[in-house]
Each structure stands twice: as structure tokens, then as C-alpha cells.
């Protein structure tokens, strides 16, 4: 198969064009914005937490197809998951979720949403302890 068609499979592009969980949650527990400074991708993630479980999660953002589709796919995946499990998610696990094999040059795009949610959860927990 063609390299580009391999990278931009229809399944990925569907998530890009019509992302799941796109939008804001007002007055929520987790709100964190992260960037890829090199390419200018940005993802802001919002999550409601109840008893250590992600009850609802949404995101907004701008960027390439891979970063935005990955945010759509990841938010679907972590809904109803324990925050402990989300904090432990590895890069490989997230890349596995994507319908494409992400080339080395684009890995940061694929992982931006994970970075945002994990940092957001850390801040949420730190605040809770205070």
C-alpha cells in the first residue's frame, strides 16, 4: 500500500473530520492545555472525575490530522476508566489504539492528547491533596 494512504487511513481521517468528544466542559475537575512547540499543534482537555473514575472527557484543539484524531480516539478510550489506569498508560498503548502506524517524525502528534490528560490529572491530584 502507498505510504501516505497507509498513514492517512480513512478510519483516522473520520476521527479528524468528525472528532468524538469535541468541545468544552464548563466548571470541570481537569482542564489542561498542551502544545507541540515545533509544529504548533494544541490540545486542551477537560474531564469530570467521580470517585477516581473519568466520568466525562472532552477536548478542543487545533492541529494536524494525527494529533486531532488521536485526541478523539484517546478520549473515547479513557471514558469510564480509573484515573490510576490512565496515569499509567504508556506511549505504546496509545499508539496501538491508532488505526495507523505513526512514523517516528509524527509520534509527538500522536501522543499530545495523552501528554495533556496525564499532566492534567497530576495537577488535579495535587490540588486535591492541598
Amino acid at each position: 500500500m502507498d505510504l501516505a494512504e497507509d498513514m492517512y487511513k480513512e478510519e483516522l481521517l473520520e476521527h479528524y473530520r468528525e472528532p468524538q468528544n469535541y468541545g468544552e466542559i464548563k466548571d470541570t475537575d481537569v482542564k489542561y492545555k498542551d502544545f507541540n512547540p515545533v509544529c504548533g499543534d494544541e490540545i486542551e482537555i477537560y474531564a469530570d472525575i467521580k470517585k477516581g473514575v473519568i466520568e466525562n472527557v472532552k477536548f478542543t484543539g487545533k492541529g494536524c490530522a494525527i494529533s486531532q484524531a488521536a485526541a478523539s480516539i484517546l478520549t473515547e478510550h479513557i471514558k469510564s476508566k480509573k484515573i490510576e489506569d490512565v496515569k499509567k498508560m504508556s506511549n505504546e498503548e496509545v499508539l496501538e489504539l491508532l488505526p495507523i502506524k505513526v512514523s517516528n517524525l509524527r509520534i509527538k502528534c500522536g501522543l499530545l492528547a495523552l501528554k495533556a490528560i496525564q499532566k492534567g490529572l497530576l495537577i488535579y491530584e495535587r490540588k486535591k491533596h492541598e
Binding site: D2, L3, A4, E5, M7, Y8, L13, R17, V38, C39, G40, D41, K62, G63, C64, A65, I66, S103, L105, R106, C109
Partner: protein, 400 residues
Amino acid sequence: MIDARKDFPILSRKVHGKKLVYLDNAATAQKPKQVIEAIKNYYENYNSNVHRAVHQLSAEATDAYDEAHEKTANFINAEEEEVIFTKNTTESINIIANHFARTLRKNDEIVLTQMEHHSNIVPWLNTAKITGAKIKYAEINKDGELDLEQIKKLITNKTKIVALAHVSNVLGTINPVKEIAKVAHDKGALVLIDGAQSVPHMPVDVKELDCDFLAFSAHKMLGPTGIGVLYGKKELLENIEPFNFGGDMIKEVTFENASWNDLPWKFEAGTPNMAGAVGLSAAIDYLKKIGMEKIREHELELTKYAIKKLSSIEGVEIYGPKQRVGVISFNLKNVHPHDVSSILDSEGVAVRGGHHCAMPLMKLLGIQGSVRASFYFYNTKEEIDVFVKALAKVKKIMGA
């Protein structure tokens, strides 16, 4: 047509099974075998430290290193002692920004433009932070050109330094640096030109421009990475304190004190990039053989051709003025520049996608980034055809 491709080994390689079409020359240029051979020859036959020992190898290396200064000086119509070898354009600018960080006062002003590369903004932010001096930005119009009338108002008796790109790395705009230098000098300000995107592509004459400082890099003009140039007028450089301190930049050292070496060595502390200098020499020889006028002409023709082809694609928006160098920034409607670049790459076409180290300019243009195709004299119209055809593939895949 310039028949040079056979001299560039990398241009015959394949990328993802396709012929390489290298259109990222504003980032770095490819190297002809003459440059690669010169560096190899240096390491195989006369590698040794310069300006120190009296043995034969050192004499040969010193001759070659000094000759590189001489050739570089000739190339930009400067004197030999006015040419300092640095690491790159960024370091060259930092040397001057650092000088001003030590000498500016609170009410002094620095004038930059809105189209500067980060390398000609960030050092000055630091200078302003240290001294309390104020930075003012010359504005660009919707075509990405400076307004000379506005600049005339912006530069006042408070202005001490005007630092600007000769050519924009994003828009390809060629700035009227000679006129701006005149305005600055009338107000008693000095002028630094970032020549990273001009020196490789057109004749640049420091006496003609009457600039006080000029910064550029070897790697964008066929030379190796790791060596750049700072030109400065002799009488100015003599009164500027060194930036790096150590060996070779001194005249006499005691436990308590040191005095500085003559120009340009005062600014070249430690063992310099000798192989880099040899490579830069060979690059200049190569460029001179073709002729800078001819290079400019060829790139102008390529650029015209590319703009015509790109303009005929629906959804393509091109940024920048009509008169430009071989740098074209554009966006394809509803497709992120990185996705464009990735798909072009799958066709062997190397372009840059992103903010091009000019985030404030991107913000001004109201975009997150752009795709940039940039040419050198070894590029051909056939390559532009491949590039344009690959854009059609981007549109097909992304449904744009």
C-alpha cells in the same frame, strides 16, 4: 539552466522509492562533491591545529584557514580582518546582541521587524531585558513587505541598533536594507543584517549596502554545518569586547590580566572549526564559478513558474509579495501543513511545514503554520511539476 546536479551526490538518492525532490533549501542546502572532497582532503592530508605549531601540517592548515577568511571577505566585498568565523548565523547575531546587552541604557531603543526569524528576536529580547531598552517592530503590510515610511518614523535618535533580515525565511520578501541603513545612520543607529537567506542566493556587497554587521551561515550556501560568519566594520569591531574568551583570542596573558588579539582572531576563541572553514572555502569557489547573478536569475525563473502552477490549484493560498527570492509559503485549505508535508514526503518531495521559527509572524498572518517550498540553483522545473502533482495527491487523500 544551470547544469549542476551531477555534482550533488544526494540529489540522485531515492526517498520512499521515489526520486528525491529537495525543496527545503531555506533550512539547509545540499553539498556538492567539491565541498565534501575538500573536507575529506583536509582530514586525510593536513589536519592539525591552526595558529600554533610551526610544523608543516600546521602551516598548511593555517594557510587554508586564513584563506577561508580571505575568500569569504572577497565574496561579500569586506576586508579580511572584518570576517569572523562563528558557529552559525544565530551565534553571529548573539555576539552583537551581547555587545548591546553590555552597552545600551534604559531609554535606548532597538528596532526589529515583524518578519524576523526567532534568531533575530530572542537575542534582542535578552538584550532588552538586561538593559531595560525598548524593542520596536517595523510593521509589514498584507503582502509581507515593510513600509519604508513607517520605518522612517520608527527610527529615532533613541534608536541604537536596527536589526533585520535581508530576506524573509518565510515570505521570501527582499527588504530594502540599503535604504533602511541610510535612515538608521542618519539617526546615528547601527545596522545588523541577517543575511542567512540572502547571501546564498544573490550578490551581497557590504560596502554597497553600507551595513555595520552582517550575519550568515555556511550550511545554507553549500558549505558544512557548524560554521557561520559575522562581518563587522573594522572600526566597530575594534571597540567591541569579545564574546568568548580563551586560547587564540589573546595577545598576552598573565595571572591577573589578558589583552586581546588582533581582528578577527579576538572573536575566535579556542580551536576553531578548521574543516568547516575549508568546506566554506570550497563552497564559495563553487558559487563563484556559477556566478551569484546567474543563481539569482535561475531561482527567479523557478519561483515564477512555481507560483503560476500553485496559483492554479484550488484551495492554495500563497503568502508574501510578488518580488521575492525562491521561498514560497502557502497553505492548502482545510489541511494542516504537517499533513501536507507528510504526504509530499511519501512522494519524495521534501518541504518544510510549521512555523519556520517565526511564531510572531505566523500569529500576525493569522495562521498556525504554513508549508514552505524553497529552491536552490540545482532545482528544476521538472521537480516543481512533481511537487505540484504531489499536492494533487494531498487533496485527494485529505478530501480537500
